[in-house]
Symmetry: C2
Subunit: 471 residues, 2 copies
Amino acid sequence: MSDLPEQQVVEEPEAQTQVDIEQGDAFGFGDEHVNQVRDHLRSDNKEAIKGLFEDLHYADVADVVQQLKPDDRSNVLKIVGQELEPEVWSELDEDILEEVVDEIGADTVARAIVEMEDDDALAVIEELDEDDQKEVLEALPHGERSVILEGLSFPEDSAGRMMQRDLVTVPAFWSVGETLDYLRSDIDLPENFYEIFVVDPKQQPLGTVPLNQLLRNKRPVRVAKLMEEQLTTIPVETDQEEVAFIFRDRDLVSAPVVDANSRLLGVIHVDDVVDVIDEEHEEDIMRMGGVKQDEFYSSALDAAKSRVVWLVVNLGTAILASLVIGLFSSTIEQLVALAVLMPIVASMGGNAGTQTLTIAVRAIAMKELTPANTLRVVGKEVAVGGVNGVIFAVLVGICTWLWFGDTALAGVIAAAMVVNMVVAGLAGALIPVALDRFGADPAISSSVFLTTVTDVIGFFAFLGLAAIFLL
Amino acid sequence: MSDLPEQQVVEEPEAQTQVDIEQGDAFGFGDEHVNQVRDHLRSDNKEAIKGLFEDLHYADVADVVQQLKPDDRSNVLKIVGQELEPEVWSELDEDILEEVVDEIGADTVARAIVEMEDDDALAVIEELDEDDQKEVLEALPHGERSVILEGLSFPEDSAGRMMQRDLVTVPAFWSVGETLDYLRSDIDLPENFYEIFVVDPKQQPLGTVPLNQLLRNKRPVRVAKLMEEQLTTIPVETDQEEVAFIFRDRDLVSAPVVDANSRLLGVIHVDDVVDVIDEEHEEDIMRMGGVKQDEFYSSALDAAKSRVVWLVVNLGTAILASLVIGLFSSTIEQLVALAVLMPIVASMGGNAGTQTLTIAVRAIAMKELTPANTLRVVGKEVAVGGVNGVIFAVLVGICTWLWFGDTALAGVIAAAMVVNMVVAGLAGALIPVALDRFGADPAISSSVFLTTVTDVIGFFAFLGLAAIFLL
């Protein structure tokens, strides 16, 4: 370590509006680095590429590797692949990771994994396909392999996969002085730790001592006096989404992970939880958009394939809506204005329903929508639908009257609008609640059901009322 | 502190499938507590309510307060309002917070704020309406008030509002021993800290020393030898979304916040960032669903009002689509099957476009979609649209032929499907890129533009081709 500080200061923006742009360059790679690498490749300047990669933060290295075209990536990895920091691996997107592993070989990957933190190592291994996984595991030294295999024995996406297993434990009768002497002795300490755990002889956690308490108290003080005893312990099989929820709900900075006998197995820190929160966030957004996973780096054909299922489902609901329209084809034949106007009713219902759905799905995820208040929430959403239904009935009624000069038609579309928006509020609240009750994820499937309902009811109400009152 | 540990163990599930349910009860309040409070209210058992609230974690207290009906809430606050832990306040939803402040008075709120961490105190103050804010500020002791006012002087949602200002700084020439003596002396230390900062005489940060380094090294070692010098410092006016991005990109656990002269002002820890990530996540989800903010606790009328704007925008696009259909009303009059089938083309385009949009919006947020690869991404999405367009053209063509026995009609809808799905891929990728380039948030406005395009093109292609080839 040099004595001169080597700071990495985010460039100070001259004006506030510049913050985003300037930082966008300072962080999250610049196109600039990608272009530099490309230029160096073209002039076959291997040393320049090595130099550039050495200077970059590992997150930026990962970004550059991802941004390159496959051929360029392959060439760059031939030059620097053996020397990449291990942290680069856990930053790579799944699609790119597999490509890179095939490129540089299982041995190199295994060497990187040995140096990683437990949860990052597991995350990389998990993302490999079966063959690569096997090869990498075989290339690992025995000790490391059994640690990884034990980690893999915990359910996917469980606390066991998130935790660090390297931690510092002391018995309750020790003093601050004894603890300091122990830490300063020649033992194998974790590379970094934020608290020490006080355990009983059965390895069950009694409490944690934040490091600042060890520093501010004098040597004779007993650690048992300093420890925080209100532990929120997490069973090792707890799902990661639940772990994230607990951390947020309790504002935790860290939590011990225990086995079925309450023995301490590891610790999860809030920074490990950030990745899970991001992952869940991405999953939510992707599911709501009808995409299975982020396929930004997949090929067009793979992307097309993975999106087909959702489109087939939607084709089904679209055909269902068409069948409803088909019932009224003779009505439409007599009054073609109905065909012109009918999408308005369906679309407004869909949008109003999506608003309700968004609030309800979020409230279920946050455990704010519960059996005790479901009735109240549904009632409120129906009321919202009613209020906005009337507002848009008036608006659409006036538009229709101005356009077609037909008062009866205006009345029919206004009535259909109220009906469909009330139904949208009802369905928008009830569908996610029902899906949740039956154990399905409300985020993924709610919107198909909802638009099916609002399309079918929208067309049926409008065309049906028209058939009765206009012909 | 008692010597007996008072653990709060998540109930150990018997079978894995039970995890969710059981923990759902253990965390995130149970309806049970709400019901207990209600029963105690009815039997006017004030002591029982006080006892219950004393036993609960502050997050659960906040949940119970939110779950109660307004009248019950008001009565409960009369009983326990003065004794709530300060942390309860920062857990409350904005709508409930204002109600509660009016109920228990500015003095009580001020007393709670004095005890909070800087960022929580600011978060509570921010959420109050202007009058309440004024009252609470006036009720604060002078010193605390100026700290809060200084915090409020930083832009909303900036690093200045997130940071803790209480930190431990030492000069670079100190040894571990001197630092320990300093920490053990009778100085006013922060309640909790995770690292100490090494600063130069101008208060500019030179590096941080993780506490475990102070503990594992002997007294004569100089702190300058132990400090991590690769600091990622954050200018105080940086937007919180950018702060969160930096933390995730760099896997930071903490980062110093500096003013325009690079002087150390405070520190942000990853646990403060979790709240921001959640906030941004909620904002994304809400915006994509066409809702301004989470209005789970708003009245029906307020909710209806806040949703009107989005619905008006959508009414505009729906009418635009209707106008396109109107152009072809004579075509529809001659072949009513067109009216029956036309929503299929529009709806499939909308769904395919939303898939592309989801990938693109996410990639922009993650800074993976950049000027350098825009063309490649757009090209890929058009290809995806083409592939799936052909697949669904065949499917829909067959369905149409089976339904109406009309080969020409089947051909027309198949052609329109290909056109609309290619356009959907193009628009789904280009619209968010364009919005981002012009400084708008792609998450909020993309979907209106997209569905406008897919509806208009869908109807136009289908009805237009029909007018040319079928009549």
